[in-house]
């Protein structure tokens, strides 16, 4: 038998090791098919199909509008409150869907994870893409409503909206990798995430304005509140969609670009931490599932 030491090992690879999220680029075609599968099977067997992607946010919007705007009277002081509400809701919906699905993705794909080696980052990342595709109908409704209300955004504002989407996708991927890998061993993780998602709607200025928070909180706590990347994304969306439909007298957060830059940094840090933890735990996936 040949001694392994005497063999040229340069042509060999260690099975089960990859380059993490970078491997996903090499598996672009599979990623595309996984996203396609997620989209095709999402509303499989339902008569309304993709109409549900329009019905659900519309119903959600209606309930918030009735409760927050009409019953609680939060719309006083916020011009064009329905547009304000909806432009925030879609951002939080994107975050919730992307983060929530990514967290469960490894456990949901256990049949594959246990049998065949693939860069496992593919599954959470595919789920984030699927969430993005489901975000598009909501964005379409938002744009339609805005156009109806005389929307004329500047290029800078539109760039801000794009930046907001990037922030949300990055942070959802990072947190999804982190909580998704922990979820394999401790299913507590997905329950914790559900809790976080429940808070997400309320810890960002979606149902109220940031000024209401500024008036109640001490400055350092308010700064902390504004450092939440989801808050930055929500405010970027407000600036892009809601603000141009108003008379332009509403107050906008100071240093919105600075806050957004910070959000990008936080999102990247989350991605790096998520990836590191994921790689650390990945070796145990097949035996813990």
């Amino acid at each position: 038998m040949s001694k392994p030491d005497s063999v040229d090992l340069s042509a060999f690879t260690v099975p089960g090791t990859g380059r993490g999220v970078f491997d996903v680029f090499g598996y672009r075609y599979l990623l595309r098919l996984l996203v396609r599968k997620g989209i095709l099977t999402r509303y499989h067997g339902s008569a309304l199909g993709w109409a549900w992607s329009y019905v659900k946010p519309a119903a959600q919007f209606l309930i918030y509008y009735l409760v927050m705007g009409v019953f609680l009277g939060l719309n006083r002081g916020i011009e064009a409150f329905p547009v304000y509400l909806f432009s925030g809701i879609v951002v939080v919906n994107l975050f919730n869907e992307a983060f929530g699905n990514a967290t469960r993705s490894i456990v949901n794909n256990r049949a594959l994870v246990k049998k065949i080696y693939l860069p496992r980052e593919l599954f959470p990342i595919a789920d984030v893409f699927i969430a993005f595709v489901h975000f598009l109908p909501q964005l379409t409704i938002l744009i339609a409503v805005c156009l109806f209300s005389g929307w004329a955004p500047s290029l800078v504002q539109l760039a801000g909206a794009l930046l907001a989407i990037v922030i949300i996708l990055l942070i959802a991927t990072g947190l999804g990798l982190l909580f998704g890998s922990i979820n394999v061993t401790f299913r507590d993780s997905q329950n914790l995430v559900e809790l976080i998602l429940m808070f997400a709607t309320y810890t960002s200025p979606v149902l109220y304005s940031f000024q209401m928070v500024e008036n109640k909180l001490p400055p350092w706590l308010f700064d902390l509140y504004m450092m939440n990347p989801v808050t930055a994304a929500v405010e970027l969306f407000h600036s892009a969609f809601w603000f141009p439909t108003t008379s332009g007298s509403a107050a906008r957060p100071e240093h919105l670009w600075l806050i957004s830059a910070l959000a990008i940094v936080i999102a990247i840090v989350a991605l790096v931490v998520g990836q590191l933890v994921f790689r650390r735990l990945e070796g145990r996936f097949a035996q813990d599932l």
């Binding site: 038998m1 040949s2 392994p4 063999v7 040229d8 090992l9 042509a11 060999f12 690879t13 260690v14 099975p15 089960g16 090791t17 598996y27 075609y29 599979l30 098919l33 996984l34 396609r36 599968k37 095709l40 099977t41 499989h44 067997g45 049949a111 594959l112 994870v113 246990k114 049998k115 065949i116 080696y117 693939l118 070796g283 097949a286 035996q287």
Partner: protein, 249 residues
């Protein structure tokens, strides 16, 4: 050793590999706490594999034999990369494709065609490779006109034939097979065997786990016998089968 022509480079190198499983006996904080109070062990570990040394060359058809719990599947999963060794190292050269539980990536709500593409991609093929082999895959599976039907309407035989056909048509250098040849009817099994022989003749490496000794004897030239995580025999397939029959679990 029955190998007459030693190939210049092996396909699989397994060096001093050990795999230990940790079994947790508690599944909640409460159970952990109670176990801790009673000074019971929270987990036990057992060695699924201990110190395995092995080299497999090109064009070799190797059978892994052993009774349940001997560590066969664990060894196969280490080679495929699904599991990582706790000690030692596993090295492979070329593309590894696993015929491990065929159909793991099949989605019942998608058509046969979409499942073929999805699964071939999961097994590492590119779009152009799948396009080039698609007709061959469908023909081998004998699915015919049902290829555009949703897989959930397939009979179990059709399902398995299609899944197997995808796996065996992937571009590969090392083929890992785990107990899947027991599927399908006799004619289809014969076809699969012929296909596997064709692959081995083309220089591919075959690593197979099976309890079907007569089939293994037909397909493989070399046999490895595992017993409680230890490699107890490595040699010609017929001798390996005799060895297996002689040992106890």
């Amino acid at each position: 050793m029955p190998r007459t022509s030693e190939p210049p480079l092996p396909r699989i190198i397994i060096e001093g590999v050990r795999k230990t499983y940790t079994l947790r006996h508690t599944h909640s904080f409460k159970e952990t706490f109670v176990a801790w109070l009673r000074r019971k062990k929270v987990s036990t570990s057992f060695d699924a594999l201990q110190h395995i040394d092995l080299t497999v060359g090109e064009s070799e058809a190797v059978a892994l034999l052993g009774y349940n719990g001997s560590g066969k599947s664990t060894l196969l999963k280490l080679v495929s990369g699904v599991l990582r060794p706790d000690r030692g190292r596993v090295l492979t050269r070329g593309r590894v494709a696993g015929l491990i539980e065929v159909g793991a990536g099949f989605h019942p709500d998608l058509s046969g065609r979409e499942n073929v593409y999805l699964n071939a991609a999961i097994l590492g093929m590119s779009k152009t490779e799948i396009d080039a082999r698609f007709d061959e895959i469908v023909e081998f599976s004998e699915i015919g006109e049902f290829i555009d039907t949703e897989v959930k309407h397939y009979s179990s035989g059709m399902f398995v034939r299609l899944a197997f056909s995808v796996a065996i048509h992937t571009e590969l250098d090392i083929l890992l097979v785990d107990e899947v040849l027991a599927v399908g009817d006799a004619p289809f099994r014969e076809k699969c065997k012929a296909k596997i022989r064709e692959l081995v003749a083309a220089g591919k490496t075959l690593f197979i786990v099976s309890h079907d000794l007569s089939m293994v004897a037909e397909l493989c030239s070399r046999g490895l016998v595992l017993r409680r995580g230890e490699l107890v025999y490595d040699g010609a397939i017929d001798d390996a089968i005799d060895q297996l029959k002689a040992i106890t679990r």
